[in-house]
Structure formats: structure tokens, C-alpha cells
């Protein structure tokens, strides 16, 4: 069993899963902001994704340059099976611990 996934790592992997297993760095960042309200810097996203890449959980490749990016290319990520397993395991742990207290958590969330 590899190192436990960090919170942002889990969120970005979930974003990648939601995107069908393939997304650019900026799409992952924007999705994260939209769904969680967390405003992270693009640089932070690439640092985390690079870490996941070196652990063999995602695959990275470079896309085409576009004018709205000032002629710069995008970086894309693809979820690998090891990444899916690691994500499932992390989610499973959260779900197991949350079992039976989902209602309480939901209430707390609504109140906050």
C-alpha cells in the first residue's frame, strides 16, 4: 500500500474521474473552485499533479497552444488504474468512517 493520499490530491483525482479520466490542469483547477469554492493557484495544481505522476497514479501529456493562453500549451492528465485504486481506497476509508453519521454531517454542513 502506497502513501496515503492528501486532501488536495484526493480532490484533484476526483475531478479527473468526474471528467471521464482525462482533463487539463486548468480544467481541474476550475472544477475544484466551482465545486468546493477553493481558490488554488494553478502552480499548486501542477505541483500536486506532478507528485501524483511520479507516484504512477496519473499520466501527463502536453496539448496544443491556443491564442487565449498567449500562445502557450496546456498540460493534460489521464487517470491511471493505480490512481483509480488509490482514490477508491481513500474514499472507502472516508465512507467507512462516516458510516452512520452521514445525517449528522449533512446537518452540520447545512448549518455552517
Amino acid at each position: 500500500m502506497g502513501r496515503v493520499l492528501g486532501e488536495l490530491e484526493q480532490l484533484l483525482l476526483l475531478g479527473l474521474l468526474r471528467a471521464g479520466g482525462d482533463a487539463s490542469g486548468i480544467d481541474l483547477r476550475n472544477d475544484l473552485e466551482l465545486r468546493t469554492g477553493r481558490n488554488v493557484l494553478p502552480g499548486a495544481v501542477y505541483t500536486i499533479m506532478e507528485r501524483l505522476r511520479t507516484r504512477g497514479l496519473v499520466f501527463a501529456y502536453t496539448g496544443d497552444a491556443t491564442p487565449e493562453r498567449g500562445g502557450r500549451r496546456r498540460k493534460h492528465y489521464r487517470l491511471l488504474p493505480a490512481g483509480e485504486t488509490a482514490l477508491a481506497r481513500a474514499y472507502g476509508q472516508i465512507a467507512a468512517m462516516a458510516e452512520g453519521v452521514e445525517d449528522r454531517l449533512r446537518t452540520l454542513l447545512e448549518e455552517s
Binding site: G25, L41, P42, G43, T47, E50, P67, G70, R74
Partner: protein, 869 residues
């Protein structure tokens, strides 16, 4: 197009770094376009710049940590690759920093630190200077201080203090002679001392006729009276006088030494006797210049009002602590501290040279790293980290060295002070603030020099080509000049070291002219209970008889001064026929006069060399006789036999009787002060029984076993009489020669450190110059230059500054050491042996340190060099 202003894009491109730079900048620009559409371009630009700054800051933070870790790894790799430079740099810093902190620590402790009490920095001492002779003495009288108090209204407090030995008799222990600190009551206020039991002195304790009172130190109270509070109010006898103990001081309260007993200084003492050290505490806001001016005015006024006491004398304010050691020692200590600073600067210069060498050797590597894209800041950062490693080791080494040195000095000061602590303000130890200051300077200069050297090599732009080294060689004239100064300083200090080392050697090997083994000694001072000569003589004879009867005792003698141990023994001596006007005593020579019993010479393993020794017939009623020692006979009688001639000894009360010289005594050292004349005369004790006597017993076996015997024998004869300085003769000599043993080592240490630093500096300079000329050597080797020729060329680059430095150093040393003649035990300040050893060491070590890198440079091979190109 996103519509991002070009300048904002350039700012972003300049600030954002890293492998993902393109994607981050692309994302930011794309997000800028979205925001500009939503909330307008200006707000989007502001957001963009803020995001760029946050990204850059985050990169710097994480990059620094990762970069530093990599730099530290690289630094260790460099350390392994060039251990000589790094270990050398660390060693040089260790020595420079350690010795500087050590030397400054001693000076600071004794002369600068001052009293650590409230307003202690305002406390100074007063001294009297004789205008004619220029001599300065720290001793003032009560009248002097009274005049100061009245004439100079600038002081908050004035106090007098002085130590004398008193005889203590009480029921708590054996009679003893102990140090008594006599003080004016104001000293307690100045020292901020409180009593734990009883009270301090008050004004009622000083007038004539008031009961005699004393205060005990906490330690003395605990040790002698088992901390019995009931001692307060009880009477003890001090110098035979009943004295009431009125208080016990708080723990740790002391001033000049252990100070077991404190006595009030008042009307019983002679008000005009100049024998007390005077302290004054300046009022708030008063500066030294005002005090100096006021004291000068007062001195002039006193000279006209009371010429008998003040003509030719002036009052001086001296810094606190300097009076105790005297002006000569103060000057030497100041010299020690400045020498420490000089060595520190030498160490920094040497480290600079070492890093110049290192940068030169690494020029190619630095240029390659820069060429393949390493930024200047990252190269500089790495150089800084690399330099920090040996610098850090040097700092740790320096702290340990200084701490060990000061620890040794602290211990030695106790040992040579006979176990008595020094004055309260003297605390030898590593002063954190000084060390931090020196260490920060060393670290900073090491790093800065390393950076400058690296930048210099990078700026040169070449990658170590065979050409282009000439200008650098010429520009290193400064380094060579520095080397000359280092070798000169090394030579000066080394000569001093050699002289002090020779003195230390003499101390171990000198023949004192008598046997010291198996001799136990002690001192008895008879005092007021033995008012006349008969009583004193009876006591001495009984003591000699009783000790002689103890099994194991081979011989016993009593004398006013044992060999080597001067004890108030200097007298004016008149030889019959010596021409003088009979009035001016100054015309009579001063020599030793020792009063001894007949077995004096036997006890020390010697016999008279001419005529006869003293015998039982030399008593009070018989003809007064004397012996003269060999140097005395030589000086006053030359080849004539002195026997039959007459001498007489003068004292404060006038001349003694004429005495016939009946024999010539062997030359035995009469004093540890080797600078004093060795001439002396001996008088028989039965004809001049003194008020005090030192006892020496020669025994079979370990003399230490007879310490108790000596005490018990005296106690049987007189239970109230203390015996002091009970120790073996070698112990006594060690204690009396502490000046040479205790004060010399710091100077020996700085001398050897200076040699080490000069050698390290030379090594670095020759290495550097050889590294610069490696291409030239390669070509010379290729066209037939022999190895010896190359070595000569490499080594000769530093030959001239080394030779000039050595010459200047030894010359300066010969001038400087004249001030140390009192510290040199049987060594001529211009000793050819010391000068020869200095020159040999200097030449040998500098030759070795320049030949070693020259030898390495001579192994250069042109083919290898070209391959590297």
C-alpha cells in the same frame, strides 16, 4: 488573444519559474481573459499580478527548501572532493576565532568587565602617579580619599579596601592566619551586599575607642563555625584583640579573594598610610573627562596646601580592575587582546586566500554550470552554502577551543592562587556576545569572500584556458603583501613564544643550588605574645629540638626566608670600608639578609664553601658574626678572601652591629625573582631572633606525612600560634613561581597560533599562485624545464614576502619582548637560542608550506591539460 498587457506578461515571465512555467503562465493568462470578460480589464490585471506574485512567492518558499537541501548535499560532496581546503579553512577559523576569543576573554575578564552590580560601569579606581619617575601606584590613604571626597563633588560613593593577614584565635578550630579584608562601610553599599545574619558595618564601628567588630563571609561561617547563627555577638581574637562578630554576609559575597573576614577601616588605622585601593562611583551623568579635570585641579591644590604629602604626585582615575594588576600587566593584557584581534584578522585573510584557490580550481565547473543554464543566484547560493560548511565547523571549533582555553585559565588561576578565587569581577569564561560577534564576522566574511571569488571566476568568462592567467597573478600583489604581514606577525609572536617556552623549560630544569626533595616547610609568626628576643629564641630552640626528635626527621632549620622564598628579606647592607657619606642610605646596596639556624645549609643538602658555618657558640653574647654567599663575596671582595671583614645590616630602626664574616655560604637562590641580584648575607638566629620564621624539616620518605607533625609540634609548644604555608618545598616553589607558569601560557598559545596561521596563509597563497600558473608550468615542462626548476618557480612566488615578513617579524619581536623581561625565567630577551629557534621554525615551516603546493604544481602534464581544454 487574452488582452493581457505586454508588460504584465513580461512581469509574469520574469517572476514565475519552474519546469511547469509554460502551463502555469498559460492558465493564468486564460483565467485573466475569463475575468476580464466578467469584471473588466483593470480588475483582471490586478488579479493577474496578485496571482503571479503569490505563485512566485510560493515557488521561492518551496524552491528554497528543496534548493537548500540540494546545496547542502553538494556542499558535502565538495567537502569530500577537496577536504584539504575545507578542513584547512575550518582549522584556520578554529584557531583564529578560538585564540581571539580566548585572548580577548582574559583581557575582558580582568580589565573591562567591571563590577556586575547596579551602576558598576560607573565605578572607577584612583591611583597616585609620581610625576618625576612616572610610576603609578594604586594605593591611597584615608586622608587622600577624604581630600578627594571634599574636593571633587562628582562621586556618588567612595570606598577604600585592602587585604592583610591576621591571626585568628577562637574556640572553633586551630589558630590560623587568614586574609582579612579591611574596608570602609561604604563598600558594602557599592557591592550591594547584604547580611544573612546580624548586620553590616555602620558609622559607629569606625571611631577610635569603639568596640572591635568583624563580619564573616558565608563560606568561612559555614566551614569554620558550621553555619551557627549564634556566632553573631560572640567574641573572637584577631591579632590578639577581642573582636565581636556582628554579622555574616550572604552567600557568594566577596571582593578581592575568598575574603573570609571583613574588618572596618577606621580611626585605628594610620590615616596617612597609603595602603588602600580607592574606589569611586561616579554620579549619574558625570563623564571621565570631568573627573580627570577635577582630579588634576585637586592635585595642584593639594600640592600647594600639603606639599609634604603631595608634591610631585597627582591623582589619576584608572579603569576599574586595572589598578589591581598594575599598569605593566594591564599593558600586556591589552597587547594580548589586540594580538587576538590580529590573529582573528589573519585567520579571515587566510580563509579568503583558501577560497580564492578553491574558486580558481573550480572555475571550469562554475562556468559549465552557468553555461548549461544554472541561474547566477542559484550558483551563488550554492557557493554560500559550501562556504558555510567549513565556516560552521570553524565556529564550533573556535567556541570549543576558546571555552577549553578559558576553562584551563580559570582552573590555573585557582591553582596558582593557592585555591583562592580571584577578585569577584574577574570571571574567565566564554562571553556569548563576544563570540557571536566574532563568529558572525567570520561567517559573513567567509561567505562573502567565497561569493566574490566565485563571481570573479564567473566574470572572467573563461573556462580555465591556458592563457589569460597573467593579469590575475599580478593582481594578487595584495595577497602577497598580506602574506608578508602575516609572516611578520607570526615571527614577532613566535619569538615571544619561544622566549616564554625557554623560560618554562628553565623552570623545570634549573638548578636552584639546593635540594628540594624530602623537605617540608611551614611558617610561624610569633606576634605580640613573644615581645622580646629571649622569648622568641626560646620558642625557636624548643621547636627545633622537638622537631629533631621526631622519628624520620633528618634535620631541622628555621630561617626568616627559605631558599627561593623571599619573605621581607631585602635589607641595605654596609660592607666595612664601603665609601658612603654615612647619611644617605640610598647609597648603600640592597641585598638579601637571611637569619638562619646552624643546620640551614645541611637541611638543603649544601655546606659552607669557605670558613665555617654557624654553630652553637654563635649566641647573643658572643661576637656578632655573618656569612656571605658566593655572589656577595665575588661582588664585594673579588679575589680577596672575605673572612675576617665586617658587614652590618640596616633596618628601619638603624644599623645593626658590625658582624665579622666567618664563612662563605654556597650560592643558593634566595628569591624567585630572577632579575634580582643574587647576593646575600646570613645571620645566626641566636644573635637576631626574628618575629617570624619559616621552618624546614628534611625527612626520610614522603615529606607530606610530616605536615601534621609540624602542626602538632607547634601546637604543643603554643596552642594559640598558627602555622601557615604548610607545604613541601616543591609546592612552595611552584606557588612562588606562578607568575611564569600562569601568565605565560596565553602568550605562548597566541605565538604558536600565529605560526600556524602564517603557515596556512603561505600555503594558501602559494597554492593560489601555482593554480594560476598551471598552464605556464605545463608549457615549461613540455619544453624541457626540470621538476626542480618548476618547484623553484612555484615556491619563489612567495619567497620575497616571506623573507621580508620574517625579517620584520623577528626584528619587531626583539623590540617587543623587552617589555616581557620580568616574565622570562632565566632567559635573555635577546636570547640567541630563542631567536635561532624562531628563525628556524619560521623558515622551516614556511618553506614546507610553500614547497608542498609547489611540488604538486610541478607534476603538471601539458597533454592532460590540453585534453581537459
Amino acid at each position: 488573444m487574452s488582452g493581457l498587457p505586454g508588460w504584465a506578461r513580461r512581469v509574469a515571465e520574469w517572476l514565475v519559474t519552474g519546469y511547469d512555467r509554460e502551463f502555469v503562465l498559460g492558465d493564468l493568462e486564460q483565467m485573466f481573459g475569463d475575468r476580464a470578460a466578467r469584471s473588466g480589464r483593470p480588475r483582471a490585471v490586478a488579479w493577474f499580478l496578485a496571482s503571479v506574485l503569490r505563485t512566485a512567492a510560493s515557488r521561492i518558499r518551496s524552491g528554497l527548501v528543496a534548493g537548500l537541501a540540494a546545496d547542502v548535499r553538494l556542499a558535502f560532496r565538495q567537502f569530500r572532493r577537496a577536504p584539504r581546503v575545507h578542513v584547512g579553512g575550518a582549522a584556520v577559523l578554529t584557531v583564529g576565532l578560538g585564540v581571539a576569543t580566548f585572548a580577548w576573554g582574559i583581557y575582558y575578564a580582568e580589565q573591562v568587565r567591571g563590577l556586575q552590580v547596579g551602576g558598576g560601569d560607573r565605578v572607577i579606581e584612583l591611583a597616585l602617579r609620581d610625576r618625576e619617575s612616572g610610576t603609578q601606584r594604586p594605593d591611597l590613604s584615608m586622608d587622600d580619599l577624604e581630600a578627594v571626597r571634599e574636593g571633587v563633588p562628582l562621586f556618588e560613593l567612595t570606598a577604600l579596601a585592602g587585604v592583610s593577614e591576621v591571626q585568628l584565635n577562637d574556640r572553633a578550630g586551630a589558630p590560623d592566619r587568614i586574609a582579612a579584608l579591611r574596608i570602609t562601610p561604604s563598600l558594602f553599599e557599592l557591592l550591594e551586599v547584604r547580611p544573612v545574619v546580624g548586620r553590616l558595618f555602620g558609622d559607629s564601628d569606625t571611631p577610635r575607642g569603639s568596640p572591635r567588630v568583624a563580619i564573616l563571609s558565608h563560606r568561612f561561617w559555614s566551614e569554620r563555625y558550621r553555619a551557627d547563627p549564634g556566632i553573631v555577638g560572640r567574641s573572637i581574637r584577631i591579632d590578639g584583640e577581642p573582636t565581636v562578630v556582628v554579622g555574616v554576609l550572604e552567600r557568594g559575597a566577596r571582593y578581592l579573594g575568598a575574603d573570609p573576614l571583613w574588618l572596618p577601616l577606621g580611626a585605628r588605622e594610620d590615616r596617612q598610610a597609603r595602603e588602600w585601593s580607592a574606589l569611586v562611583k561616579l554620579a549619574e551623568g558625570v563623564d571621565r573627562a570631568r573627573v580627570d579635570a577635577a582630579l588634576a585641579t585637586l592635585s595642584s591644590a593639594l600640592a600647594s596646601e600639603r606639599p609634604e604629602a603631595w608634591r610631585g604626585r597627582e591623582l589619576l582615575a584608572v579603569s576599574f580592575g586595572s589598578a589591581l594588576r598594575g599598569p605593566h600587566t594591564s599593558t600586556k593584557l591589552r597587547m594580548l587582546s589586540w594580538t587576538g584581534v590580529l590573529l582573528y584578522l589573519m585567520a579571515l585573510a587566510n580563509v579568503a586566500n583558501l577560497f580564492l584557490v578553491r574558486a580558481r580550481v573550480r572555475a571550469r565547473e562554475l562556468a559549465v554550470r552557468r553555461a548549461i543554464g544554472a541561474g547566477l543566484p542559484s550558483v551563488m547560493r550554492q557557493l554560500a552554502v559550501e562556504a558555510s560548511l567549513p565556516a560552521g565547523l570553524g565556529l564550533v571549533g573556535g567556541a570549543l577551543l576558546a571555552d577549553a582555553g578559558l576553562g584551563w585559565y580559570r582552573g590555573a588561576s585557582l591553582v596558582y592562587g593557592g585555591g583562592t578565587p580571584g577578585p569577584i569581577w574577574v570571571r574567565y569564561g566564554l562571553e556569548g556576545s563576544h563570540f557571536v560577534l566574532l563568529a558572525a564576522g567570520a561567517l559573513l566574511s567567509t561567505v562573502v569572500v567565497s561569493l566574490i571569488a566565485g563571481a570573479w571566476e564567473l566574470g572572467r568568462g573563461d573556462m580555465g584556458s591556458l592563457s589569460g592567467r597573467g593579469p590575475a597573478t599580478r593582481s594578487f600583489a595584495l595577497g602577497r603583501g598580506l602574506l608578508a604581514v602575516e609572516v611578520a606577525a607570526g615571527g614577532t609572536l613566535l619569538l615571544l613564544s619561544m622566549l616564554l617556552l625557554l623560560g618554562a623549560w628553565n623552570l623545570r630544569t634549573v638548578d636552584y643550588g639546593f635540594t628540594t626533595e624530602s623537605v617540608m616547610t611551614g611558617t610561624v609568626e610569633l606576634g605580640a605574645t613573644y615581645p622580646d628576643a629571649e622569648a622568641r629564641l626560646a620558642f625557636y630552640e624548643a621547636l627545633e629540638l622537638d622537631l629533631s626528635a621526631v622519628p624520620g626527621v633528618e634535620s631541622v632549620t628555621l630561617a626568616t626566608q627559605l631558599p627561593m622564598i623571599r619573605y621581607r628579606g631585602l635589607r641595605r647592607i654596609e660592607v666595612e670600608g664601603w665609601e658612603w657619606d654615612g647619611q644617605d642610605l640610598e647609597q648603600l646596596p640592597v641585598h638579601y639578609a637571611d637569619v638562619v639556624t646552624p643546620d640551614f645549609f645541611v637541611t638543603f643538602g649544601r655546606a659552607v664553601v669557605g670558613g665555617r658555618g654557624f654553630n652553637s657558640g654563635d649566641i647573643g653574647d658572643s661576637e656578632p658574626v655573618a656569612l656571605v654567599n658566593e655572589p656577595f663575596a665575588q661582588l664585594f671582595f673579588g679575589s680577596r678572601p672575605p673572612i675576617g671583614s665586617r658587614v652590618r645590616v640596616w633596618s628601619g630602626s638603624g644599623p645593626g652591629p658590625w658582624r665579622s664574616i666567618v664563612g662563605v655560604a654556597p650560592h643558593m637562590w634566595m628569591d624567585t625573582d630572577v632579575n634580582h641580584m643574587p647576593q646575600g648575607v646570613y645571620l645566626p638566629m641566636a644573635q637576631a631572633p626574628p618575629a617570624w620564621a619559616q621552618v624546614a624539616i628534611r625527612v626520610r620518605g614522603d615529606p607530606g606525612r610530616f605536615a601534621a607533625v609540624l602542626r602538632q609540634t607547634v601546637a604543643r609548644l603554643d596552642p594559640d600560634l598558627p602555622v601557615t604555608e604548610v607545604q613541601t618545598m616543591p609546592q612552595l616553589i611552584r606557588a612562588r613561581t606562578r607568575l611564569y607558569r600562569f601568565q605565560s601560557p596565553p602568550f605562548i598559545a597566541v605565538g604558536l597560533a600565529a605560526l600556524f596561521l602564517a603557515v596556512a596563509g603561505l600555503y594558501a597563497v602559494v597554492s593560489y599562485l601555482s593554480a594560476l600558473r598551471v598552464g605556464e608550468f605545463g608549457i615549461r615542462a613540455a619544453i624541457g624545464a626540470s621538476r626542480a626548476e618548476l618547484i623553484r618557480r612555484a615556491a619563489s612566488t612567495a619567497a620575497l614576502p616571506t623573507a621580508l615578513g620574517a625579517l620584520a617579524g623577528v626584528g619587531l619581536g626583539m623590540y617587543v619582548v623587552r617589555g616581557f623581561d620580568r616574565w622570562l625565567f632565566l632567559v635573555d630577551p635577546w636570547s640567541p637560542v630563542a631567536i635561532g629557534m624562531t628563525v628556524a621554525l619560521l623558515v622551516g615551516s614556511t618553506a614546507a608550506s610553500s614547497l608542498l603546493p609547489a611540488f604538486r604544481a610541478s607534476r603538471v602534464d601539458l597533454a592532460t591539460l590540453l585534453k581537459e581544454e
